[in-house]
Amino acid sequence: MKLQTKKALARGISGIACFSLCLSMILGIALEANAATIDTYLGTTSEVLASDNDEENPLYDKFTPPEELLNEDGTGNSNALISAAIDLGRREAAEGSVLLKNNGALPLESGSNVTLLGIRSHVNLLGSSFGVKAQGPYISLEQALSQNRTDFANTIAWSVGSRGAAPSATITEWKGDEFDFEGAGFNLNQTMIDIYEKLGETYVHYENEPAAEVYDPGEPSVDEIAAVNGSYKDSFVEYGDAAIVVIARPSAESVDYLPGGVAEGVEFEHGEPLSLTKNELDAIELAKEASDKVIVLISSSASVEIGTLKDDPDVDAILWIGAPGCYGMLGVADILCGRVSPSGGLFDIFTTYNMSAPAMQNMGKMYYSNTDEVITRTGGVMGFTPGAYTIEAEGLYVGYRYYETRYYDSVAGRGNASSPVGAYASTESWDYDKEVTYGFGYGLSYTDFTFEFQGEPTFDISVDSETGAPNAYATFDVKVTNVGDVAGKTSVQIYGQAPYTIGGLEKSAIQLLNFEKSDVLEPGQSQVVSVKVDLQYIASYDETYDNGDGTTGTYVMDPGSYYFSVGNGAHDALNNIMVAQGMDTSKMVGVGNAAQVYVKEITEDFISKTLFSVSKTGYPISNQLPYADWNYYQPGEVTYLSRTDWAGTYPKSYTDMTLTNEELINNLNGKTYTLQTEDDTSDILWGQDNGIKFYEMFGVPYDDPKWDQLLDQLTLEEAMYIFTFGGPSIPGADSIGTVETYMTENAGNGIAVNLNASKDPAAPWAIPASDPNGNWHPEVFGNAPLGASTFNPDLMYELGEFTGIESLFTGINILWGPGLNTHRHAYNGRNGEYYSEDPVLSGVAAMEFAIGALDYGLVAAPKHFAFNDQESERGGVSPYMTEQRAREVELRAYQIAFEATKYDTEDYDAGMRGLMTSFSKIGSIECTTSEGLMTEILANEWGFIGYAVTDIYDDTDLWSAVLNSGTTCFDTRGQAGFYSTTTLSSSNLFQNLVEGRGLDEHFIDGDANLQLKLKEAVHKNIYAWTESHLMNRYNATTHIESQLTWWRAVYYGMAGVSGIVMLAGVGVYIMASAHKKEEE
């Protein structure tokens, strides 16, 4: 070879090798920095906790999965786990689906020949495209109705994100076991199935889809059906026993429906995305041609406008099924074939027009008129739009509280309730019957029940002599009798009404106080169901009450007549009360039964007006969120809806609000904490040698002095790491013997980690990569409203327990879920992740879930605390509201869940041990930095102890203020390799703080307050860990061992080979050059 050619070759190969070397280094850095996330997706394990496991140092002895999910040798049984998930998902849908209408068409007999209509009957909506997704293999409606066995070969759930994101399969394929199930035994019209299969090429749908700001449900027209098969109607003759039409409206994170947001060219009945389209209504007309029995299934997480169907005598039955998850269609089938009698109740009120809700007058994207002039704070790492707000002028009257209270006042003839202002379906006067389709809590059964109070309720009222903490409960014994022909169960919902005076405190005419569910009762069988009501939840928050100690605002119990009622939903319960009060029944919508009402005259002697001015922790309650109210800053600019004058106060749309108040502007700019630099911090101990290790802290009470000793061992830097990086990967601390661990994941309907990608691969029950069911993904359950609609605390608890079991199999000890925000309105795209519009239903559901999960060592951290009332501009949007509204609606759900008094014992203060804060503000202050919210209310009033993480990368510029508020850490997804790859000063997230500098280990050297807050935050985090199954993995010998994963080997090899080749090329080049010189 010529020397010149040789040199060219050497030079070229060196170039390639150099490029390859650089590429492999970049790849390596990227992979290592995100190793934890990569491991989750690839099922690899980069690091393992290694420990001796012997009698002296036992492991995996604190939390274990149930024996029935293990093999005889203690290893995990994936088949048993999946079978259990299928069973639970089935029962969730069977109890959560709500029968709204039935003229006798349901149930259908086994063997019925059925025609399915609507493209969603073929491609079912099972979950949210982001948030609570239905992952992996599923059982379709068609399968559940007509088959008995699945190999999951053709039923892998797909998902498509918002804003044109590419669709993808949630798992690539299923090579695991086949599963038997008991289907409904129907014969399905294959002609229509084939047609929808073909139409699916044009109208592409997925099992997980999002809402959209401009929405089109993608339902083909009748003409398009005919174009595929012109003789399709011929098939109706054979399959005419029933026609089932499926209509769906999806929900997902990050995007809302918007008023009037409908796709051009698609005819919506009301011009709104949650109304039915012409094609959907035509499909129902087609069903009428196909059969005398027309059944409509509504798959949604919000109120769909189905008033037309309710009023249509030819629509025989309507069943709401939520987004039922991977196996929920089996439960739907159980109801359709009559194997199970429906027993669910509506999670939200279903209205004729969703736009008639007062909350809808102020939702969506609204911005201050002078944002550019006065807002200097940027949108942060997430690129949020500054200056967004919403005025929640509906006040207390969210969801059914508005419709039922206005109904009550309209019958009573007061407060201009009958005025047409705010009427959408009615014209001359506001008419409940026209405005509302189905009420909150309402649901039918295949049988009938009677409800009868058994004597007087038992009142248990006392005050702690030391702290003043109240204890006030009423237990109602309700005799439930099945007076129908088939077996069934029913919820027992107790509602209450507090005395209201015109011009006095705003009060809802009816509110849910608690609920239980009966057993399955055979015809004629009775059961006495006890429902314990916390009377705190019928008290009202009076922002103007003078507490006599310089503070204002607290809960008050106005003396007067308190009405308690049991009913099939809020409207039924209210009707009962109205009859008991002797109101004009001719003006009522529906009938009432005074026998289902209990009236209690509450006097100062019985319950003092200020009994609830002290929290259960003994902490005095006063106003903590004055900045929530726009009028606090700029008085008189906002009018909140009031019963004194429904017409005069019905909300207007507050667009283009102008910021003029300096404090308001400063708050919005994040200037809420001043970092100190010169404090004497010598009394705050760090880096002590007290000889205590983390593993010793299992079961040590939060207030045990041993904690102080442990915390004093931490260095200030270690504590800052634990506060700064709150997961999923959480830093270790050498001083207390912890190592970096991947601890957290989403979501509320299961753990978002494949079965064979456990973060705790050393657990005896961990499913190995070789397991045929290894790629099963545990996010399989229905959306939150479906769980809520069961009105079954035991089932809610069971869902939590099962998620806890999943967490043991996947090695995740903290769950970022469930969702616990309030359905402020139907258009919130994320309603599928949140339970309900009612705080008691939501709070109980979350509490049961969390306590159940904790049984298996999973810390459930509900999100988003608080006020995530819309997804539009969710990042930093300012919802303005009264403190009464904040406390009695949104915060009440969290309070119930966090206090969890149902599970308190003398020795143990039960409660949730985690939460995630909201992207949104409360008024002008970020929730993450609100001391009133995070410390005064959450910690002091409710006694919350645990992990309180921000939402992803939220408010990282406000590091000091976040720490000061009582938030305990930041969600730093993707950050790992702490103290080396990722340090306090190298993480991009914390380099643009409001203080005008970046974070480093000396940032709070001179701030005593923040050092003390840091100690408290870390205490709460570590305490939460000790309550979790993380403790299974720790003993005196625990250390970390790195693993050579295949992807690590690939980039190591690539870098090594590239380096060698490059050096060889350079060598050849030099030698050739030298040889050439010699020749010359």
Partner: protein, 142 residues
């Protein structure tokens, strides 16, 4: 000696490098939160890379074909270009992950993403041109 194809390949590589550096700077200037933490160093490395490519293009005319200056310059500029696009991408991984999942509405983020992709494409194509040029004769006889 007449300028061969390599001269023109290197010239294009230099221009692409300059465009890549400009895009890196642009992407860094769009928001404080997503600015390159070592932006100055990245720009300096890119500029140095461009100078070295120019040097690699110029050297054969003065030092003959397959001279060591060109060879070293090409390797160094590949490394420097890689550093530029590597830093741009690595520091935006979290941003990009968010754009394709929970934060798809981040319009500014998408602009940064497109600028980052543009930078990476320019730099990678420039590297490929430099490699192709390395296999060729730098100059041809007059």
């Amino acid at each position: 000696m007449k300028k061969g194809i390599v001269f023109y390949l290197n010239l294009v590589a230099a221009l692409l490098g300059a465009a890549g550096v400009a895009l890196a700077g642009y992407s860094s200037s769009l928001s404080t939160e997503n600015a390159l933490s070592n932006g100055g160093l990245v720009i300096a490395a890119g500029v140095a890379g461009v100078i070295l490519v120019v040097l690699a293009a110029w050297a054969p005319a003065r030092m003959g074909d397959h001279n060591p200056v060109t060879a070293v310059s090409v390797l160094a500029s590949i490394a420097l270009y890689s550093y530029v696009y590597g830093q741009c991408v690595l520091q935006r991984i979290l941003l990009i992950a968010g754009l394709f999942s929970y934060n798809s509405g981040n319009t500014l983020g998408w602009t940064i993403f497109y600028a980052t992709v543009g930078c990476a494409v320019c730099m990678i194509v420039a590297c490929i041109l430099l490699i192709v040029g390395s296999f060729c004769k730098s100059a041809k006889a007059a």
